[in-house]
C-alpha cells in the first residue's frame, strides 16, 4: 500500500470520524431496540425481540402505519406528476419569469416547516376544512415537490432534447412522443422520484402534526408515545423499522438512478 502524504491522512481520518458521528445516532436506535432493558442505557444487558413483539398487536400503531402508507403513496405519485411538469419546463423551455416560477416551486425546501404548517392550518380551518389525511396530503405534496423536481431535472438533463425532436420529425405526435420516447427514457427518474418522495412523506413530522387532526401518521403516533417513558423501547423498535424501510427505499432509488445513468451513457 502506498504511503499517503500526512495532510491527506489527516483529512481521511477526519472524514472517517465525521461519517462515524453522522451514523452513530442513527444506528443507536436499532441497537437499543434489541436490548433487554426498559431504558436505553449502557452496558447492553441482553438480546430480545420483545419490543418488536409488543408492536404486533398494537391496533393504534397499525392504524397510523396505514395512514402513513396512504398519505405517502398519494403524495409520492402526485408530486412526481407535478414534478414532471416543472422539471420539463425548467429544462426544455426558455421563458421570461422561469427563475421566479422555479424559485417559488422550490421554496418549501428552504422555508421553516413551521411557517408552512401554520399557514396551511389557518387557511384550512378558515375554509372550514376538517383536518384529515387529505389535508396532510396537501401539505406533503407541497414539500415533496422540490425533491421530485430535483430528481426529475437531472433525469431530463440526462437525455438529449433532440431525441424528442427526432420522434416528432419521424411523424410521431406530441402524445406519442411522450409515450414512446420521453417516459421510457425518464422511467428510472420517475421511479426514483416516487421512492424518494414516499420516504420524505413517511418521515415527515411537523406538517402531519399540525394537519392530521385525529388521524395520526407514524411520526405523529411516535410523538404521542414519547410522553410515556415505559413505551420508549417500543418506540425504538418502531423507529428502527422506519429507518430500515427508508434505507431500503433510498438504496433502491439510488441503484435505479445509477443504472439509468449507465444505460443512457453513450459507449463509443
Amino acid at each position: 500500500m502506498k504511503f499517503l502524504p500526512s495532510s491527506r491522512r489527516v483529512l481521511s481520518a477526519y472524514v472517517i470520524i465525521y461519517v462515524a458521528i453522522l451514523y452513530f445516532p442513527v444506528l443507536l436506535l436499532p441497537v437499543f431496540s434489541f436490548n433487554d432493558s426498559a431504558t436505553p442505557k449502557l452496558p447492553l444487558v441482553g438480546f430480545t425481540f420483545k419490543w418488536y413483539e409488543g408492536l404486533a398487536g398494537n391496533e393504534a400503531m397499525h392504524g397510523a402505519a396505514w395512514n402513513s402508507l396512504v398519505v405517502g403513496i398519494i403524495a409520492a405519485f402526485l408530486s412526481t406528476i407535478l414534478g414532471i411538469c416543472a422539471a420539463r419546463a425548467m429544462t426544455r423551455h426558455r421563458f421570461r419569469g422561469k427563475g421566479a416560477a422555479s424559485g417559488l416551486i422550490m421554496a418549501p425546501l428552504i422555508l421553516p416547516e413551521i411557517i408552512i404548517a401554520i399557514s396551511l392550518l389557518v387557511v384550512m380551518l378558515s375554509m372550514g376544512l376538517q383536518l384529515s389525511l387529505f389535508t396532510v396530503i396537501l401539505g406533503h405534496l407541497l414539500i415533496c415537490l422540490p425533491y421530485s423536481v430535483t430528481v426529475l431535472v437531472s433525469g431530463f438533463e440526462g437525455f438529449d432534447p433532440s431525441m424528442e425532436e427526432a420522434s416528432l420529425d419521424l411523424g410521431e405526435s406530441a402524445f406519442g412522443t411522450l409515450r414512446r420516447v420521453t417516459l421510457p427514457m425518464l422511467a428510472p427518474s420517475i421511479i426514483s422520484s416516487i421512492l424518494v418522495t414516499f420516504t420524505i412523506s413517511l418521515d415527515e413530522f411537523i406538517l402531519a402534526f399540525f394537519l392530521s387532526g385525529s388521524e395520526p401518521t407514524l411520526p405523529v403516533y411516535i410523538w404521542g408515545q414519547l410522553r410515556f417513558a415505559a413505551k420508549l423501547p417500543n418506540v425504538l423498535a418502531l423507529g428502527s423499522i422506519l429507518i430500515a424501510a427508508s434505507l431500503v427505499l433510498l438504496t433502491a432509488a439510488e441503484l435505479l438512478r445509477r443504472r439509468a445513468e449507465r444505460k443512457m451513457a453513450i459507449r463509443p
Binding site: 437525455f159 438529449d160 433532440s162 431525441m163 425532436e165 427526432a166 420522434s167 416528432l168 420529425d169 419521424l170 411523424g171 410521431e172 405526435s173 406530441a174 406519442g176 414512446r180 420516447v181 421510457p184 427514457m185 444505460k263 443512457m264 451513457a265 453513450i266 459507449r267 463509443p268
Partner: protein, 362 residues
C-alpha cells in the same frame, strides 16, 4: 438552379428577445438539389434549418415546401426528415426499432416494415446490425442509423445538421463521398448545415454563405470559391489575397484598377453589383499566381521577394513581398518544379492570368 423550387424561403425573420437571429432571408432550393448552408457558428444556419424542419417558427415571413406554406405545421406533419447533429439515436431501442420508429405510425404491416428497414440498413451498409442497442454503436454507425431512420420515411427533403462534425477526419471524408452518392441515387433535396468550407464545396450543388443572420451569397461552389461576393465570404473560405488598389472604376460588366506592383488591371464583374467602387476590394487567389522559372519569360510579369515558405506536402505556400503592396501576397505552387527549394530571401518573378482578379464588396 435545378428544376422546380422544392423549398422557398420568403422574407424570413427570427427575433429572440432583442436579438435578430435571421434577417429577411430569401432563398429558393430546387427539387433534387444538394444545398448547403455554410457559415460560422451563430450565423443562424441551424435556426434556418430547424425552421424548415418545423422545430422553430419564423417571427415573420413564410417557408414553402412543395409550394405549400408550412406556417403552423408541426414537424411530424412536414414532408421533411432530419439527421440531428447529436444523431439522437434512441438508446432504449435497438437499431431495427430505431429505424422502424416512424414507420410504426404508418401501420404498414410487419412484412412491409421489415423489408423497408432491411433495405434501409443495406443502403447505409449496416446489414446485420439490427439487433444492436442504440447506445452500443460507434460514431460512424450512429450517423448511418440516423440517416437510415430519416430516409426510410421517404421524405421530400432531408435536413442534415452538421452530420459529420462529430466524426474524425478520415471517416468524415469517406462519409462526404457516400452522402453525395446517396443523394445522387435517391434524387431528393438535401439541405446540409456546415461550418466546414471544404465539406460544403465538395458536396453541394449550391451553397448559401451566411453571416450574422443574413445570406451573403448563394451560388455554386466554384463561383463561391473563385468569385466571392464580399470580402467576408472570401475571408471565410480562406486564402484570398486582398490587394492594395487605387482608381477602382466600374463600367458595364467590368472593372478597372491600378495595383501598385502589378500595374493597371481589369476584370469581370460576373453579375455583381458594386454600389461603391471606392469601398470595393480587389483580390486574387494564391493558386492563380505562378512563379516564372529561370530561363522562362511571361507576360504579364512582376517581381517580388520571398519572405517566408510553408511546406504542405504536395504544395508549398510562398509568402512574397511585392513593392507597393501593403500586405504580403501568398502564392501556392505544386512542388513538381522545386517550389519547396526556393530559399527565403530570394527574388522571384511572378505571372498571372489577367482574368483572375476578383472584385468584392468591402
Amino acid at each position: 438552379m435545378t428544376a422546380l423550387p422544392m423549398i422557398e424561403i420568403k422574407n424570413v425573420d427570427k427575433v429572440f428577445g432583442n436579438f435578430r437571429a435571421l434577417d429577411t432571408l430569401n432563398a429558393s432550393i430546387g427539387e433534387g438539389e444538394f444545398f448547403s448552408l455554410l457559415g460560422p457558428s451563430g450565423c443562424g444556419k441551424t435556426t434556418l434549418l430547424r425552421m424548415i424542419g418545423g422545430f422553430d417558427e419564423p417571427t415573420s415571413g413564410t417557408i414553402l415546401i412543395g409550394g405549400k406554406s408550412m406556417a403552423g405545421i408541426p414537424p411530424n406533419l412536414r414532408p421533411t426528415n432530419m439527421v440531428f447533429q447529436s444523431y439522437a439515436i434512441f438508446p432504449h431501442l435497438n437499431v431495427f426499432e430505431n429505424i422502424a420508429y416512424g414507420l410504426k405510425r404508418l401501420r404498414l404491416g410487419r412484412e412491409e416494415e421489415e423489408s423497408r428497414v432491411s433495405q434501409a440498413l443495406a443502403q447505409v451498409e449496416l446489414t446485420g446490425l439490427g439487433p444492436r442497442m442504440g447506445n452500443q454503436l460507434s460514431g460512424g454507425q450512429r450517423q448511418r442509423v440516423a440517416l437510415a431512420r430519416a430516409l426510410v420515411m421517404r421524405p421530400k427533403v432531408l435536413l442534415l445538421d452538421e452530420p459529420l462534425s462529430a466524426l474524425d477526419k478520415n471517416l468524415r471524408e469517406q462519409m462526404q463521398v457516400e452522402l453525395r452518392h446517396l443523394q445522387r441515387q435517391i434524387g431528393i433535396t438535401f439541405v446540409l448545415v456546415t461550418h466546414d468550407q471544404y465539406e460544403a464545396l465538395s458536396m453541394s450543388d449550391r451553397i448559401a454563405v451566411m453571416f450574422s443572420g443574413q445570406i451573403a451569397q448563394i451560388a455554386e461552389p466554384k463561383e463561391i470559391y473563385q468569385n466571392p461576393a464580399t470580402r467576408q465570404v472570401a475571408d471565410f473560405l480562406g486564402g484570398m489575397n486582398f490587394l492594395t488598389a487605387s482608381d477602382v472604376a466600374v463600367n458595364g460588366k467590368g472593372f478597372k484598377a491600378a495595383l501598385p506592383g502589378f500595374g493597371a488591371i481589369s476584370g469581370h464583374l460576373s453579375g455583381k453589383a458594386i454600389s461603391d467602387p471606392a469601398q470595393a476590394i480587389i483580390g486574387i487567389r494564391p493558386e492563380r499566381l505562378r512563379i516564372v522559372w529561370e530561363g522562362e519569360t511571361a507576360d504579364p510579369m512582376i517581381s517580388g521577394k520571398v519572405v517566408d515558405r510553408n511546406y504542405f506536402g504536395e504544395v508549398t505556400s510562398l509568402v512574397v513581398a511585392i513593392e507597393g503592396q501593403a500586405e504580403h501576397v501568398s502564392i501556392v505552387e505544386t512542388n513538381d518544379f522545386g517550389a519547396d527549394d526556393i530559399p527565403v530571401g530570394s527574388d522571384i518573378r511572378i505571372t498571372y492570368d489577367p482574368d483572375a482578379f476578383v472584385i468584392m464588396q468591402g
